[in-house]
């Protein structure tokens, strides 16, 4: 099994939400004009991911998965065969939407300046693909413990944060360069994101704990064949 740390590092770098899966691109492109708002939105995404993924993990494992309801009554056959996973989409999105509503109210109360700066984009976190994507990837990959799922959500959030802050910093500077007129704004942002994605692909070479063992076996066998 992958260790929790592996999952965390993987989620930040080699399986970055933006550069590997393009999740959350809409707000990524729309709110990355200045670093300040980008930091605010990035922090909001980290927080919402960190809360929603564990909640959805519990829902998935104690309500939706095949046989997940058997904790209600271990002896009942109907409960052990019950598969509610087709309800996953609607459950996940309901959890995400209500938690976003909560965050919105908290930010409005305690950080009005940030609320003014984020404006329309805070409710849009509910439809930010990275949040629902986090929940769906969690379901897809079947993490064994809630700790792993939390590490994954925190890592994905931090990865998204790094991506949006980096592009916002680049966009602030690129204002002073001579970009061809039709590429200004959206076009050049796409191309820069693509180039950053190529850069991030370098992280795919990171060796995780699990990968090492089978390779050693392969080396010893080749030596054995060479000897005689």
């Amino acid at each position: 099994m992958e260790s929790t740390l592996d999952i965390f590092v993987k989620a930040i770098f080699s399986e970055n939400m933006i550069f590997a899966y393009f999740l959350g691109m809409c707000s990524y492109l729309a709110v990355s004009k200045t670093v300040k708002t980008a930091v605010g939105l990035g922090a909001a995404v980290i927080f919402v991911l960190l809360v929603t993924v564990p909640v959805n993990y519990l829902l998935e494992n104690y309500l939706l998965k095949e046989g997940a309801l058997s904790w209600l009554d271990p002896n009942s056959d109907t409960l052990a065969n019950m598969d509610l996973s087709f309800l996953a989409f609607i459950m996940f999105i309901a959890v995400v939407a209500s938690i976003v509503q909560l965050v919105e109210m908290l930010v409005e109360k305690f950080a009005p300046a940030l609320y003014g700066a984020l404006g329309i984009f805070l409710p849009l976190i509910a439809v930010n693909c990275s949040i629902l994507g986090g929940a769906l990837f969690m379901q897809d990959r079947q993490y064994s413990t809630i700790l792993d799922a939390t590490a994954f959500s925190l890592g994905s959030g931090i990865g998204w944060f790094i991506a949006i802050v980096a592009i916002a910093a680049i966009r602030e500077k690129i204002r002073y360069s001579n970009v061809p007129a039709p590429l200004r704004g959206l076009g050049i942002t796409f191309i820069i994101t693509g180039l950053m994605g190529i850069g991030f692909m370098a992280f795919m070479g990171i060796k995780y704990g699990k990968d090492e063992a089978p390779e050693k076996v392969a080396i010893t066998t080749t030596i054995d064949i060479d000897k005689p």
Binding site: F19, A20, Y21, F22, L23, G24, M25, C26, L29, A30, F86, L87, A88, F89, I90, F92, I93, A94, A97, S98, P123, L124, A126, V127, N128, C129, I131, L132, G133, L136, F137, D140, R175, P180, A181, P182, L183, R184, G185, L186, G187, I188, T189, F190, I191, T193, G194, L195, M196, G197, I198, M201
Partner: protein, 227 residues
Amino acid sequence: MSDIAENKKTPKEPLFSKKNKKLVTDPLTDNNPVTIQVLGICSALAITVQVKQGVVMGLAVIFVLVLGNLIISLLRNLIPSRIRIIVQLVVVASLVIIVDQLLAAFMPDVSEQLSVFVGLIITNCIIMGRFEAFAMANKPWPSIMDGFGNGLGYAGLLVLVAVFRELFGSGTLYGFPIFGDYITGSGLYSIGYVNNNMMILPPMALIIVGVIIWIQRSRNKSLIEEH
């Protein structure tokens, strides 16, 4: 009652009037949801490695968008504005569940390849964007046209990107070999042509869309942004 009174005052519009046609054709070019409105990019890029996936995804989005626009437009006077986002999300989520179950039943291989991206249609900004901007304020028929037009604009761009990526990345189109067989080295491969594996990687999708935006904006100067 009020509806009937409204109908008497305004002369009835033909179903395919100029205005309604414009709702369909506009999103195909100068008001494309992906390249101009910047909506729905999340899923547009990840599933454009093969044309087939792009076509299936495009059809799924057209289906959800047309039906969703219709439902929201019918309900538009009943939805309290404070909770409208949640109502919209529930409508989309139910439609997406239908799509997901249909795909899993009839096209299991494509369903497997698309994996989480079918579910992500729910958070596709095009759908929420059209609900907010159009269906909440318009009658059912124009909403259907608007949904169809925007869905088609999205699907068109998806297929366009997928054609480039599949043709140059794997040398096939919709699964059919175009440049000859790569493994036996026939056709173009016999004179030393190689597939550009770069095209299959995620970042190239972004760069292709960037180039499409570049071409579109240099043809239509009014779309150029300040910065």
